[in-house]
Symmetry: C2
């Protein structure tokens, strides 16, 4: 019985890995859509979000089936509950990447943002691309060190996010009002992607630590 | 055994009701902070968010204990899993109300937004106040009709949200760049509060319907 249970747990873990990979692809694609006006990349991200949502439903179903059939306790139980939370986090990250892609598609063939923002948003995107890659390896290897790096480094993204406001308020800003609106929202979406990555990382640290209560994530969405 | 289980389920349901009440108070308070420059209301919302977070932790703990001790199946199991999701939704709503209150506190004693926005934001706030009240009664009565109204009416909030962009782009707009940034973010926070209320309502419909799969919420965060 135990063996079957662990096999089924492995199946849901595989689906969660797949979610992380899909989210990572969506983050990279949203960056191409926004910074390179790549409308095909935008469309791929938008279309691909359905798959992420479907994977979430599948993960929820599997978790409920495992809970019902196997009555897990202790570690297995906490892994399943954490898996439910992680799948919700990834689903939301897919939405945020889709929002970025939709904004880029709306303004295509014009770039969404004025040229003076390019460097700053490129830095934010490079940060998010790195975080996305870390997310995948953190998940597939249950690697607490990578998770810790995601948590610690998020400050950098917050600083870049603040710089977007400074830029908008400075004399350097040449954009229209519409571009101001888009920039504020895009920067917010990117910052939220970072927050959700931190949330996922905290949960992985909690799992890997053997559910050390001192490492229990407080509040799903760190702010 | 069954009786004890239902008593414990009642305890966690009570805590969830309390979360809904706290979130409702936070939404009303954030509105007072923003629209009446009520800095005490702002501070109360900001301080109160800790309690909402603590309630979420308590709900999670109780759910995990129930899952471990009672090995619930069928309806009870789905109620517990739905409770976990609802508590995450409410926790996030508390964060959003806090963000609004923090913005109002930052600009105090100046109003955060220019006068031409007052009417539109008052309409949005009235909508959210109504939604907050509905959320509480939906939860305490497990009332699917109220939940359905939350779901159907959310379009109104989305329309008001779009009007904030129209206003910012129009000649009527007299605000500064900083006010533009704040308005875009505040309107986004308010729209998200509505989205989360819809997400909670969908889950309650799903519970009350006896987990009719056709009413299963697809994706935690409707967009």
């Amino acid at each position: 019985m135990r063996v079957i249970f662990n096999e089924e747990l492995k199946q849901v873990a595989d689906d969660l890995d797949r979610m992380a990979q899909d989210v990572s692809r969506a983050i990279h694609g949203a960056g191409d859509a926004l910074l390179k006006s790549d409308v095909e990349a935008a469309q791929t991200v938008i279309d691909g979000d359905i798959e992420i949502d479907a994977l979430e439903s599948s993960v929820i179903d599997q978790c409920i089936r495992l809970l019902a059939k196997q009555s897990p306790v202790a570690t297995d139980l906490r892994v399943i509950v954490s898996t439910l939370r992680l799948s919700a986090t990834f689903e939301r990250m897919g939405d945020l990447a889709r929002h970025i892609a939709e904004t880029a598609r709306r303004t295509y063939p014009q770039p969404t943002l004025p040229p003076e923002t390019q460097q700053l948003f490129t830095e934010m995107q490079e940060f998010l691309d790195m975080t996305a890659d870390r997310l995948v390896s953190m998940l597939s290897d249950r690697d607490a060190q990578t998770a810790e790096r995601i948590i610690v480094d998020d400050d950098q993204l917050d600083q870049l996010h603040h710089q977007t406001f400074d830029l908008a308020l400075s004399d350097e800003w040449t954009g229209s009002k519409q571009q101001m609106i888009d920039m504020v929202l895009l920067a917010r979406f990117m910052e939220r992607l970072g927050d959700h990555a931190v949330s996922a990382a905290r949960r992985v640290v909690y799992i890997v630590s053997g559910f050390d209560p001192t490492k229990e994530p407080a509040g799903e969405d760190p702010d």
